[in-house]
């Protein structure tokens, strides 16, 4: 599997490069280049290995050393290696998650790459990579969030993809009556609950309010937030979620979907791979957009962007810049995302339409009113932590809602001052 992916990625890149000759003019690179990646899952790992191999072939004098770190461990380790042992290229995430490293000067300003054609092609993510008017990295992929559901169960029960909140709840009620939970979720590591909050809040109050809230400009005790929580509570009161979700990671929640104990899963597209690996086929698994809640509010979507950065302590920044440019190019993004099963950011890239989830995601995001990164990338780290803990608590003890929101408000006043 891995070698096939790798080979196909390489092949695609090769043809692309030979066809355009886009990189032939670049000056030759030499020396060492260190790359740190958080792409520890099999498919992303193979994809990156393929891309790096290809880059290495173009620059035979460059000695590339790649380190792949476990995705979760990476999140706590980045601050250490940026100061102690900076590589020349490192993966990370867009939005506020860059903030601590940008503020302390640990990321290199790469505004120079955001010039000309490339800037135009990557325009959709420019804001997410901009802090203080400068750009601090380049995107290599993004992916949609939405509801992954058991089509076979829906068909059997005569349910259709819901497009409104009323339909969503009606479907859910039927499922619950039939002894099936509507949604599986594992909140042990908190962030999964934030996916629900983001969507409920964006659909209840709109993208602008959601962004203002995560940016600390709106109060958590605002009536609009309470409305969001009230909508969430409707589902909780229906007993729509699996029980004991606080004990599971997101992967451990998958078997409930596979065993048919739950009918759907609000998740990012990266979940498709493990769900299929756990035994579901394309016929059983399908996707729908999170439905409309408040009439008249334009539909914004979650689309977290994964990015590449150059640490300011890098020793071979020329090579780093060349690699970022290489990965940002339309050709490379096309082939990379085909093997990642995700979406290229570069608008000159083509999308792998063979994959129905990628195709649907692409259509959905193209028509989206606006894109949010994700709660823990839009809000600063500390607020994200307090907030997600609050969401988890709310899912278990919905009666505490006022207390939870008051706590979040207090945190907001401290964190954003």
């Amino acid at each position: 599997m891995r070698s096939i992916l790798k080979a196909s990625a390489t092949a695609l890149v090769t043809t692309a490069v030979l066809a355009t000759g886009a990189f032939a003019a670049d000056k030759p690179l030499s020396g060492d280049m260190k790359i740190f990646l958080d792409t520890s899952n099999p498919a992303p790992r193979a994809t990156f290995e393929g891309v790096i191999a290809q880059f290495g072939e173009m620059h035979p004098d460059l000695n590339i050393e790649t380190t792949i770190i476990d995705r979760d461990a990476y999140k706590t380790q980045i601050r250490n290696f940026l100061t102690a042992n900076p590589p020349d290229v490192a993966t990370w995430y867009a939005g506020n998650r860059m903030l601590p490293y940008v503020n302390t000067g640990l990321f290199e300003d790469v505004s120079d790459l955001w010039q000309g054609d490339l800037a135009e092609n990557l325009a959709s993510t420019k804001t997410a990579l901009t802090i203080d008017g400068k750009q601090w990295g380049v995107p290599y992929t993004y992916y949609q969030w939405g509801v992954y559901y058991r089509k076979d169960i829906f068909d059997k029960m005569g349910l259709t993809k819901p497009t409104t909140w009323a339909e969503e709840k009606a479907n859910c009620q039927k499922l619950v009556d039939a002894g099936i939970k509507c949604y599986t979720i594992g909140t042990k590591f908190l962030w999964t609950a934030a996916g629900w909050f983001d969507y409920l809040n964006m659909r209840t109050n709109g993208y602008e309010f959601h962004m203002a809230l995560t940016a600390g400009k709106e109060k958590w005790t605002d009536d609009r937030v309470k409305k969001t929580m009230a909508n969430w509570r409707e589902l909780l009161d229906m007993d729509a979620f699996i029980g004991d979700h606080t004990a599971y990671s997101w992967q451990e929640a998958i078997p409930f979907l596979v065993d048919g104990k739950a009918a759907s899963y609000l998740m990012g597209n990266f979940a498709v791979d493990p769900i299929k690996a756990a035994g579901l086929t394309d016929d059983q698994l399908d996707f729908y957009q999170f439905p409309l809640i408040t009439e008249g509010i334009p539909m914004a979507e979650e689309a977290p962007t994964d990015t590449l950065h150059i640490p300011s302590g890098a020793s071979n920044k020329d090579a780093g810049r060349a690699f970022l440019k290489f990965v940002a190019s339309a050709e490379v993004q096309t082939s990379m995302n085909a093997s990642l099963g995700q979406l290229p950011v570069n608008n000159k890239s083509s999308v792998n339409t063979d994959d129905k989830f990628v195709r649907q995601g692409f259509e959905m995001l193209n028509g989206a009113y606006a894109l949010a990164q994700f709660f823990d990338r839009d809000a600063p780290a500390e607020m994200a932590k307090v907030g997600m803990e609050g969401f988890q608590e709310f899912m278990v003890r919905p009666d505490n809602v006022d207390q939870i929101l008051a706590r979040l408000e207090k945190a907001r006043e401290r964190i954003y001052k």
Partner: protein, 282 residues
Amino acid sequence: MFPTPIQKSPRSWQLTYQSLLPVALIFWLLPLIAVALFSVKPEGDFSGGNYWSLPSSFGGWDNYGKVFFQSDMPRYLMNSLLITIPTAIGAVALSCMAGFALGIYKFKLNLWVFFIFVAGNFVPFQILMVPVRDLTLDMGLYNTKTGLVLFHIAFQTGFCTLFMRNFIKGLPFALIEAARVEGIAEWKIFVYIVLPLMKPAIAALSVLIFTFIWNDYFWAIVLTQGVDSQPVTAGITSFNAQFRAAYHLMSAGAIVAALPPVAMFFLMQKHFIAGLTLGAVK
């Protein structure tokens, strides 16, 4: 002897006791037995929801094979060894010397110095976290086994010195006096007279430190990252992230990580227990 020796009890109680022992043991080790059982079950048993039945077939080779040949576990194990052994040597060496100084010589600050070691040993080590991490970063030893080893040596010196000092205090002081009268240099007294007598303490302490350091998790995640330098306790969390929800593999991984100190304990049981209980009995 207390309680009354079983041999002097009624026959019925003797039989009850004999049968109670294995039952109690199985109950005591139940969580561990469960994991050992998991680790030899084939994957199919889990996807089939067959968690608690006996293995449908023996999957041990497969599972352990994956741990050893398809994951980074061997490298983590190697790191653990390369961290644990130098630490044991370093801490034992430093504390032999310090224990000698504190146990043999009478000087004004003796008890103060000793108490600082003892107090330091009891400190909740979280208070050291921020400064030690900083220091390690500044010395360029962050994410190196050396950085971790240096800290472990320093911190373990507290406990080891307490141990060694008390042990040396128990040695016959007349031996040392005799040597001094002979005009033997102090360092020679240490090397030729005291050190040979300390062999049992050194053995006990080495085994103990080996186990403590092998099982360290907190400092491993504070001072190291990744497969280049992390020991197996930290590595197993990455391993589990890689095989999330694959209980047969996670169980096998856990068993592999737990095995070396267990082996050490069984091989060196006498020293181990002597080390733990020194001072527990007058």
